[in-house]
């Protein structure tokens, strides 16, 4: 019974991790930006979904819609207010832009955290689940929300795969990640593509944030830890590799669940951290990364 429970819980949490880290890897793969305010995007969406859905009493679905919208708005703000001005700045030397994007998004994450804790306080809240109640699955009682979370995550992941591999737009995104200059020479507007990627990123972060908020709860104080988790999963899988991110999310998700059930919940993230150090040391490009 315990085995089944670990399998189910591990699956749900891993899928959620995959979705949460996917936007981070996408934005790095296409535009080379490591967004250290990533956790901020997740929590903003969850908070807005909670506010609209529970506080204003408009229900889980309208709340989720508002949350996704908030994710898009925050992603656009991150790009237009922080990342693009730094990338286009004339005073910042080109060699050091990466560092300034890191510092800028780091500061932006701090700002998001402070704004959220000012408006909503930092008491942890839980977003209303889309599907309340519990399900009895082969003798294991599990919240229905856990299944819905895993299902939605996989649908979103599938949609993203279709978008990237089967549409013209997706081809442009891929091309932008491989050779931006070549794409510009072929007459495509690179800035339009970047804008598009940030919108997709906002949608992904929005959905991930809402699901995380209904599954594990959320608070402005979680922002740095969420950024850290996404960063770890993405680097473990290999920066910029989508399949690597999925794989790493399942590795970390299951290791954490196993530790929580078999050893102690308080040690939950220790083995994953140790594994991360080992992998980085033996295989710096990550599990499935390309150099």
């Amino acid at each position: 019974m315990l085995v089944l429970q670990i399998l189910i819980d591990g699956f749900a949490i891993s899928t959620l991790y995959a979705l949460g880290a996917l936007g981070f890897t996408l934005i790095f793969g296409v535009s080379g930006v490591l967004n250290l305010a990533h956790g901020g995007l997740l929590v903003v969406s969850a908070m807005i979904a909670y506010y609209v859905g529970t506080r204003l009493g408009l229900g889980a679905y309208i709340g989720a819609g508002a949350g996704i919208l908030a994710g898009i708005v925050t992603a656009m703000a991150t790009y237009l207010l922080i990342v693009r001005p730094i990338q286009r700045s004339r005073v910042i030397p080109a060699r050091e832009r990466e560092l300034f994007v890191l510092t800028g998004t780091l500061l932006w994450g701090v700002m998001l955290q402070e704004m959220l804790s000012y408006i909503f306080t930092d008491t942890p809240i839980t977003v209303k689940p889309l599907l309340p109640g519990i399900v009895d699955f082969l003798g294991v009682t599990t919240p229905a929300n856990e299944f819905i979370t895993a299902a939605i995550s996989w649908v979103v992941l599938g949609c993203l795969w279709l978008l990237v591999n089967r549409t013209k737009m997706g081809k442009q995104l891929l091309a932008a990640s491989i050779n931006p200059r070549g794409l510009t020479l072929l007459g495509f507007e690179l800035s339009r593509i970047y804008l598009l990627v940030w919108i997709i990123y906002g949608v992904l972060a929005g959905i991930a944030g809402i699901l995380l908020g209904s599954f594990l709860g959320t608070s402005s104080e979680f922002i740095p830890a969420l950024t850290g988790s996404a960063f770890s999963i993405v680097v473990l899988g290999g920066l910029g590799s989508v399949s690597g991110t999925l794989f790493a999310a399942y590795v970390i998700g299951y290791i954490e669940t196993l530790t929580a059930y078999l050893v102690s919940p308080s040690l939950r993230n220790v083995p994953a951290l140790v594994l991360l150090i080992l992998v980085l040391y033996i295989r710096p490009q990550g599990l499935l990364g390309r150099r």
Binding site: I82, L99, M111, Y118, S232, L276, I277, Y281
Partner: protein, 307 residues
């Protein structure tokens, strides 16, 4: 060398430090307390700048080294009851060992990968402190039987003297041949190696020096505060402040780290009436400064002088 000692920035620095050392005769204990913390932070940022600005090592976890120094000293005091100076040395030693341990992956990894390792090091340290709560005090913190001094004036003078000496040493290192080789290794390791410099040795030394000062400062800070807690010396938020201070003050200057740290902490105190919003305002100011003047506050001063 003679020219340096009669240069305008040098005289300005000495003048500022002289005025600062006289402050205890004129201002309240509260202001002295704020500045004391700021001075220790200044050393954190200056040590970080040696590693990042010169050696080009992306260290997202300055609090790993600071925390080792702080907890090394704190545990030596609370568990072994050693005299204070010995405790501080033990803390510094713990930090140097940690620094060399961090240098090993740094020889193989660069950029975001090293950044993540340093970040993970902080998270692991945090976990270890919580797991071994029996000896470390866990999440509540470790209270120390001894403090540097109970009065704010001596505490302030200790911190000022420590910052001045550390700053002078770090600045001298950065301007020495050693500093130049570090800079070369950071910007183009292959070329530096081709010129016959032992990059490995220099990088490990840079980590050890940075760790030494971070650890000393962390140890002194907990002896000033009277407690060592995760929130005060290990938390990632503290590390973020150290990094922001160094970038805000001006990278690759050493002194910029001190200016940035003091600016951040003093600005945070002045804005305290705004309550929760003070951190937000400080973050916005820092963002504007780095966007307008990438060389930070020190860069702004320099630009004004040349135009």
């Amino acid at each position: 060398m003679k020219k340096f000692f009669s240069s305008k920035p040098f005289i300005l620095t000495i003048g500022t430090l002289a005025i600062a050392s006289l402050l205890p005769f004129g201002v309240s204990d509260y202001i002295l307390g704020v500045l004391t913390t700021a001075f220790y932070f200044a050393v954190f940022s200056m040590s970080w700048d040696l590693l990042f600005g010169y050696a080009g090592e992306v260290n997202f976890g300055p609090t790993f080294l600071i925390g080792l120094g702080a907890y090394g000293a704190g545990m030596a005091d609370s568990l072994l009851n050693l005299p204070v100076p010995v405790c501080i040395l033990i803390g510094a030693l713990a930090a140097v060992i940690g620094g060399v341990a961090l240098a090993i992956p740094a020889l193989r990894l660069t950029g975001p990968y090293l950044g993540l390792i340093t970040l993970v090091a902080v998270l692991l340290l945090q976990q270890v402190i919580v797991i071994f709560a029996g000896v470390t005090g866990g999440e509540i913190g470790l209270s120390m039987p001894d403090v540097l001094s109970v009065n704010s004036a001596p505490n302030y003078e200790y911190a000022l003297a420590f910052m001045t000496v550390s700053g002078a040493i770090l600045f001298a290192i950065s301007r020495s041949n050693f500093g130049l080789i570090l800079q070369a290794a950071g910007q183009d390791p292959i070329a530096a190696r081709a010129l016959g410099f032992n990059i490995t040795k220099h990088k490990i030394a840079a980590f050890a020096i940075s760790a030494l000062f971070s650890g000393l400062s962390g140890a002194l800070l907990v002896f000033y505060l009277g407690t060592a807690s995760v929130n005060a010396v290990v938390d990632i938020a503290i590390g973020v402040r150290v990094i922001i201070a160094a970038v805000l003050g001006g990278r690759r200057t050493i002194i910029g780290g001190a200016i940035g740290a003091i600016f951040l902490i003093v600005a945070g105190e002045i804005l305290r009436p705004l309550g929760q919003l003070s951190t937000l305002v400080v973050a916005i100011m820092a963002l504007i400064v780095i966007m307008v003047s990438p060389d930070g506050l020190l860069g702004m001063l320099r630009a004004r002088r040349t135009t």
